[in-house]
């Protein structure tokens, strides 16, 4: 039963090796999906190419069905799973800054790491930027530690927010992803024509 490392089925060393292999699959998929090209990512914000949010929605839906499906089948113990905590306000503000950075830089951390190793010089500079931004956050931490830790909601899921069954929530997310993707495709062809 998973998670394998938390249940002592595999060692920490094997877990680290798994991280490398899974990372390789992730990196391969990012590159082959065109995510190492900042023009493709930035095009999202002009609705000129909506593949990036479609890939994101597909990945989320696949993984969500996988996670809660494995739990339903008794193959993963969610009690031992690390769920990300919600700090709503800091995450909303950070998301806005992050989005500005993504439109300006055309990349994000995963895609820039992937693009850097395919020779893209702009991605190397972008990674240096992330490095500096990280140090600014950490070294001036007392300036924003209160905000960073504010609006803490613990593990707070959409099914709890809407007070519905978790399976139904996964289904709603799937529907949102499908219709969201179709809607964005529609907007793309409306703004830019069918062939861009």
């Amino acid at each position: 039963m998973g998670p394998l490392v938390n249940n002592g089925i595999i060692s920490g060393g094997i877990n680290s090796l798994a991280a490398v292999l899974i990372g390789a699959l992730f990196g391969y998929a990012l590159q082959r999906s065109g995510f190492t090209d900042p023009r493709k990512i930035a095009a999202t914000f002009y609705m000129k190419d909506v593949d990036v949010p479609i890939v994101m929605f597909t990945a989320i839906v696949t993984a969500s069905i996988g996670l809660f499906g494995l739990s339903l089948l008794g193959l993963i113990d969610l009690g031992k799973f690390y769920f990300l905590p919600s700090y709503l306000l800091p995450m909303i503000v950070a998301g806005f800054i992050f989005g500005i950075g993504m439109a300006v830089g055309g990349l994000c951390p995963g895609t820039s790491i992937a693009a850097m190793v395919t020779g893209k010089i702009d991605a190397m500079v972008f990674v240096i930027g992330i490095f500096l931004g990280t140090l600014i956050f950490g070294d001036f931490y007392p300036q924003w530690d209160k905000f960073y830790n504010s609006d803490s909601n613990g593990v707070y899921r959409l099914d709890q927010l809407f007070n519905i069954n978790i399976g139904l929530m996964v289904l709603l997310v799937v529907l949102f992803a499908v219709f969201g993707s179709l809607g964005m495709k529609k907007l793309q062809s409306l703004f830019w024509g069918k062939h861009v």
Partner: protein, 169 residues
């Protein structure tokens, strides 16, 4: 001739499968920015060890002589580099170049890349994760904060897109 890109549904499914593997094997999700944080702490600790060990935010990374580079997310980043490098070679898209829109200089593009990187490095720490570790993973976990983060990313991007259109269009 470069190889054609994957269909987005296929690409998304592959990334989703990678996420399921981390969930099942490691009890956690994918991540990318965490590795750069570990690397940044490691570098700063080489240059200014006393300062780093007294830093409220960075000190846990180097507590009790720990090496910040022996972290799950660092191993994952090594994997991302191996996978992307392989894909770049196989698809014949490995090339030393600057990717940019048609109406901006190389220098202009690199300045924008640096500014974008700084904003994202800062914001990823503020959000406790990036597009991978917060938006995708938290999105799959149905985390309210992650969904708010993701919508906010699109809001921020759309808000500035018009003003920087010369960079891309």
């Amino acid at each position: 001739m470069k190889k054609k890109l994957w269909n987005p549904i296929f690409g998304g499914t592959m990334i989703g499968l990678a996420m399921i593997l981390t969930f099942y094997i490691s009890g956690r999700g994918l991540g990318a920015s965490g590795s750069i944080t570990s690397f940044a702490v490691w570098v700063q600790n080489l240059i200014a060890p006393t300062y780093t060990k007294s830093s409220e935010y960075f000190s846990p990374y180097v507590a009790n002589g720990a090496n910040p580079l022996t972290d799950y997310m660092v191993f994952m980043a090594i994997g991302i580099m191996i996978g992307s490098f392989a894909a770049g070679i196989i698809s014949k898209s490995f090339k030393f170049e600057i990717l940019k829109g048609p109406n901006i200089s190389n220098k202009g593009r690199l300045i924008y890349a640096l500014i974008g990187g700084i904003l994202i490095g800062f914001a990823a720490r503020m959000a406790r994760g990036c597009t991978s570790g917060q938006a995708l993973v938290g999105g799959a976990e149905l985390s309210v904060g992650s969904w708010a983060f993701m919508f906010s990313i699109f809001a921020g991007g759309f808000a500035v897109a018009y003003f920087i259109r010369r960079e891309w269009l």
